[in-house]
């Protein structure tokens, strides 16, 4: 049996608290435990009774006591992950837990990736795939709204809607297939006009769901917002304003904290990853070439670019370079420092970005920031309130499947309109059903044949 890497993570939410729990899982969990834990007497721990609460110290490699803790040992096959698991409950507080984690890493464990405990639980047979996916989505759901979507999807809102569409397509397809396979039997196929109407209805429904798909995908994966602007234009102040009181809600999930430039905030229910491009300027300076490349890449990937200008200074060379760089990228333009005497007018910027939305703020005073948040949210997911938006699609592969279904249904419509041959209409209807089946997990191949025989009296 291959030795699996031993992983560790802080299991309790961040922030100050009475206790903090660290979980270690893997074949070497006990080995890590032997290195980092000591009896209160200072002696190494020899026996590890299963599921018993014990008291001890966490010590550094040099033997220095870091914290007094209680610990539990769960034996392989009898733990959440199905592997050997050691759970250490230390005193809460981020600094303390971080220190314990450092010692654990030195003892041979590595930081768990998000959802990795659940993944292992699945691989070891402790959870089935559907449960595992749901748990991972819930873990990854960064905000309340995202959590609601994940829950809703678990309950099958998307499946229900898609299944209805599948049924409608199936009802169309069955008589067509029956007539193709049994040309000498008396089978009435749907009128072209009504078939066309039905296909169109299904296609429009799918398109409606798709229109909301981007929003759903953002809710799950956190939208990326990149803030660009020359130094001293107020990027940090804006970032702090946006983080502001939301900072407490930020969930520094292990693994994401390694990304230094980004912070995830809850923007009225929408998880948003803010990236400050401090030190990265899109100018053609050989020294900064790497930085420029990175900025370009970030901007290409971004769901929204916010570009910041200083109202108290006329446009500089660097500003002009930025404006040129951002042409066609349709950024959200923000004029900062409106509390100071104005040297750069809104009109000048409007001329530079005729297509873009433009807002004036004073990041320092906090003026216009609340309104800006609204604009960011609207740019990302549309203007509607959360109640009236039926959020459905939260997976990229679902979106792809829907897009494919819509494309082939358009071909079906063309086929019907242009008096195309029935085999192609059948082939395309099946392709649409196959695509939708990737969402619902339904395979219609057998159903079609069952239906042919139950609906039509076939055969000599």
């Amino acid at each position: 049996m291959k030795i699996t890497e031993t992983i560790a993570a802080i299991a309790t939410p961040p922030g100050e608290g009475g206790i903090g729990i660290i979980r270690i899982s893997g074949d070497e969990a006990l080995m890590v435990g032997r290195k980092v834990l000591r009896h209160l007497s200072g002696k190494p721990i020899a026996s590890w009774p299963e599921r018993k609460v014990r008291l001890g110290y966490v010590v550094t490699a040099a033997g220095e006591i870091v914290d007094e803790v209680i610990y539990f040992y769960f034996k392989k096959n009898r733990s959440y992950t199905g592997e050997d698991v050691l759970e250490i409950q230390g005193h809460g507080g981020y600094q303390n837990l971080k220190k314990i984690m450092t010692i654990i890493f030195e003892a041979g464990a590595r930081l768990a990736e998000p959802g990795e405990f659940t993944k292992r639980a699945f691989l070891n047979g402790r959870l089935d795939l559907a449960q595992a996916e749901a748990v991972i989505d819930l873990i990854r759901a960064r905000t309340d709204l995202a959590q609601q979507v994940a829950m809703k999807q678990l309950q099958g809102t998307l499946s229900t809607v898609i299944k209805e569409q599948e049924n409608r397509l199936l009802a169309l397809l069955v008589p067509i297939e029956a007539a193709l396979d049994f040309p000498e039997d008396e089978i009435s196929t749907p009128e072209r006009a009504s078939a066309l109407e039905e296909v169109r209805k299904v296609r429009l429904t799918l398109e409606e769901i798709l229109a909301q798909a981007d929003q759903g995908i953002i809710l799950r994966d956190a939208a990326t917002v990149v803030i660009v602007g020359r130094p001293n234009v107020g990027k940090s102040s804006l970032l702090n304003q946006l983080l502001g009181e939301e900072r407490a809600i930020v969930t520094p999930i292990p693994g994401t904290t390694r990304d230094f430039v980004s912070e995830v905030i809850d923007l009225e229910g929408v998880p948003v990853r803010l990236i400050d491009t401090a030190g990265i300027r899109p100018i053609e300076d050989p020294v900064e070439k790497v930085g420029v490349e990175k900025a370009r890449h970030l901007m290409e990937e971004a769901d929204l670019i916010i570009t910041l200008f200083d109202a108290a200074t006329p446009l500089t060379q660097e500003d002009y370079a930025l404006i040129k760089f951002l042409q066609e990228k349709n950024p959200l333009v923000v004029l900062n420092k409106t509390d100071l005497p104005v040297k750069l007018s809104v009109e000048t910027l409007k001329a530079a970005f005729p297509q873009s939305k433009l807002r004036s703020i004073s990041a320092l005073q906090g003026e216009g920031v609340q309104e800006l948040k609204g604009v960011i949210r609207a740019e990302l997911i549309g203007a509607g309130g959360r109640e009236e938006q039926p959020v459905l699609v939260t997976k990229v592969r679902h979106k792809e499947a829907l897009t494919e279904a819509v494309e082939v249904l358009i071909q079906v419509e063309q086929g019907i309109e242009e008096q195309g041959s029935e085999d192609l209409i059948a082939v395309n209807l099946r392709a649409a059903l196959e695509a939708l089946g990737r969402i619902t997990g339904r395979s219609v191949a057998e159903e079609i044949i069952e239906e042919i025989f139950s609906q039509f009296c076939i055969g000599k």
Binding site: M1, K2, F122, L123, N124, G125, R126, L127, D128, L129, A130, E177, A179, L180, D181, F182, P183, E184, D185, E186, E418, G420, S421, E422, D423, L424, A426, V427, A431, G441, A445, E446, I448, I449, I452, F453, C457, I458, G459, K460
Partner: protein, 619 residues
């Protein structure tokens, strides 16, 4: 006395004949055993070959070097082209065959093969001996063979039902194979029982055709076979009439006498070839059902009344048949009946149609749970080729779902636990536009030649044809048409299409209104050749779809590459759903692709299995 052969084929029906031909062509001394020498390639049901899906199978068997296509072409009474306007994927030929001529021609052909010995006899035992199999006949005669193809059709423990009467019998009063069924069961072969049925045969001169609709054959440019010169015979018509409320009333009143409704039959019947009593019960809203009157042959007065299959008592059959217009004065020659027979449970078959745990023993045809001459022939040729490859010590020959309907058929047989006799349908094929009847040779003849079922002379013809197709395609790609040119004007006049911009003839051909024959007529009259043109035209017009299917096939191939070890233990995989674990353990798919097609195996199960296989592979 013992005699030795390389291969024994048990049963000389449509599967057995193909199997014997294949092993003989591969160079093996073949013994073809039949329970009755008079009934080689007997058609106990409809005298009809082909139709959507089935016609594709005939072409595929022909492309591999099999017999059914050639023999049907020689013995046809009429041919029809079906679905001509519904697209290339479903276009199909269907032939009415002269049953007696069909048998006679097949028998003559097999008799002429130097490596085939035909022997009448009832097999009662098949025992493993050192490195070979020993076959025992009911007379005590024994044969030693190295490989076996079992193709016993509906004979294995066959039981015929007519009303309350039931008795052991093969089809149409033939001797059943009771002992062999019992023998195989005692050896551990698991069987299920299927049921099929057939209508009464009636005397032609007792019918009144004046009140029926005539169904003449079509004038066609070609028959089934790629190899035989098409020689259309004088077409003989079929006739169409209908049942009515009176017919249904008689059947309803006598349902308690039907073995299927009084519990005498336990076997499972077909839904696509139902008895008239089933039609009446299952579709009470239908006011009438079609009845096709089909000739059984030129030299007989017997007619087949398709659509009136029944196992009601003879006198009831007589009563309800008389209610059908044109059949009022009917004289029944033989009554309709239902027959129950043994079918090998599919989990015992591998993709090469070998029986698990019986090295060198293959099974084919109705015994495997199919119905239809075409399905039987397709399995027969595959089992024959695989018996030959087994003798050569080579890898089995398996066709995939994207290569042939044969692949679809065999894959369905072993992955789906069919609970009725299986019939091929175009709607079962995912790669319908690729598996057309016009390109079966392009898909399969290469294989047929490799196994020596296609002669060198035939292969040369095939290569020349393939070459001409390539030339035609490149001609269409390279030649262009310019707006306002003489050619454009000619095109406008001929098909009413205006050329708006300079384009290749290939692009032009993608327009629905433009047919390749029209282009040849205008630009290259020397190019016309019907069968090839169908290929060329379909290739260009459906290029996008064919590419889509090719992509899908590549995805499938990836799944088919992921092999599951033969002895894989599904009980150790956690999380598999109960039903998936049961089915997988039972059907033992060879690949992840096959596993995915087993009903009850969900995508989640498949993922679990994939992850598990990857993990155990890494270990």
């Amino acid at each position: 006395m013992q005699q030795c052969y390389d291969v024994a084929v048990i049963g000389a029906g449509h599967a057995g004949c193909e199997a014997a031909n294949a092993t003989a062509k591969m160079g093996f001394k073949t013994l073809l055993l039949t329970i009755n020498f008079n009934n080689i390639a007997f058609m106990p049901c409809n005298p009809s070959v082909g139709g959507p899906g089935k016609g594709n199978l005939v072409r595929e068997v022909d492309a591999l070097g099999g017999l059914i296509g050639r023999n049907t072409d020689r013995a046809h009474l009429q041919m029809r082209a079906l679905n001509t306007n519904k697209g290339p994927a479903v276009r199909a030929l269907r032939a009415q065959a002269d049953k007696h001529l069909y048998q006679q021609l097949m028998q003559n052909y097999l008799e002429q093969q130097p490596l085939i010995t035909i022997r009448q006899g009832e097999v009662v035992a098949l025992d493993p001996a050192k490195n070979h199999w020993r076959i025992t006949l009911s007379t005590g005669l024994k044969y030693e063979v190295l490989a076996v193809v079992i193709a016993t059709g509906t004979f294995l423990r066959g039981k015929v039902h007519i009303g309350g009467l039931s008795f052991p019998s093969g089809p149409q009063g033939q001797h059943p194979a009771i002992a062999f069924g019992e023998f195989l069961e005692a050896q551990g072969i698991k069987f299920k029982r299927f049921k099929t049925g057939t209508p009464a045969r009636v005397r032609k001169r007792s019918l009144n055709f004046a009140v029926m609709a005539e169904q003449p054959g079509d004038q066609l440019e070609h028959g089934f076979s790629y190899w035989l010169r098409w020689n259309p015979r004088e077409p003989v018509s079929c006739w169409l009439t209908y049942t009515n409320e009176k017919t249904h009333e008689i059947i309803r009143r006598n349902l308690h006498l039907a073995p299927m409704y009084c519990g005498a039959i336990t076997g499972v019947g077909t839904r696509y070839c139902p008895a008239i009593e089933n039609k009446v019960v299952n579709f009470p809203q239908r006011e009438r059902h079609q009845v096709f009157i089909e000739p059984e042959g030129l030299n007989t007065d017997e007619m087949y009344i398709a659509g009136l299959s029944s196992s009601l008592p003879e006198e009831i059959q007589d009563q309800f048949i008389r209610t059908v217009p044109g059949l009022e004065k009917v004289e029944i020659v033989r009554p309709g009946y239902a027959i129950e027979y043994d079918v090998i449970a599919p989990e015992q078959l591998t993709t090469s149609l070998q029986i698990r745990g019986w090295p060198g023993v293959f099974s084919a045809g109705q015994l495997n749970g199919t119905s239809g001459y075409e399905e039987a022939a397709a399995q027969g040729i595959m089992a024959g080729i695989n018996a030959g490859l087994y003798l050569k010590g080579e890898q089995p020959f398996v066709l995939h779902r994207n290569e042939a309907y044969i692949g679809v058929l065999i894959d369905d047989l072993i992955t789906k636990e069919n609970n009725e006799p299986y019939r091929v349908m175009t709607s079962r094929a995912e790669f319908r536009l690729s598996l057309r009847q016009d390109n079966a040779d392009l898909r399969l003849t290469e294989y047929g030649h490799r196994f020596n079922l296609i002669s060198n002379e035939e292969y040369d013809r095939f290569q020349a044809k393939r070459q001409r197709i390539a030339e035609k395609l490149s001609y269409l790609e390279q030649n262009q048409i310019t707006p306002g040119s003489e050619a454009a004007q000619a095109l406008q006049d001929a098909v009413g299409v205006t050329v708006q911009q300079r384009m290749s003839l290939k692009q032009l051909l993608k327009m629905p209104a433009v047919k390749v024959s029209a282009l040849w007529a205008l630009f290259a009259p020397e190019q016309i050749f019907t069968l090839e043109d169908e290929v060329v035209e379909n290739y260009i017009k459906y290029e996008g779809y064919l590419e889509r299917e090719a992509k899908m096939a590549a995805r499938l191939a990836k799944m088919e590459e992921k092999k599951i070890p033969e002895d894989f233990d599904y009980t150790v995989v956690p999380n598999l759903s109960f039903i998936a674990r049961e089915k997988l353990s039972k059907l033992r798919p060879a690949t992840i692709g096959q596993a995915g097609r087993i009903s009850g195996v969900s995508p989640a199960d498949l993922n679990t299995l994939l992850i598990w296989l990857t993990r155990s592979g890494r270990r």
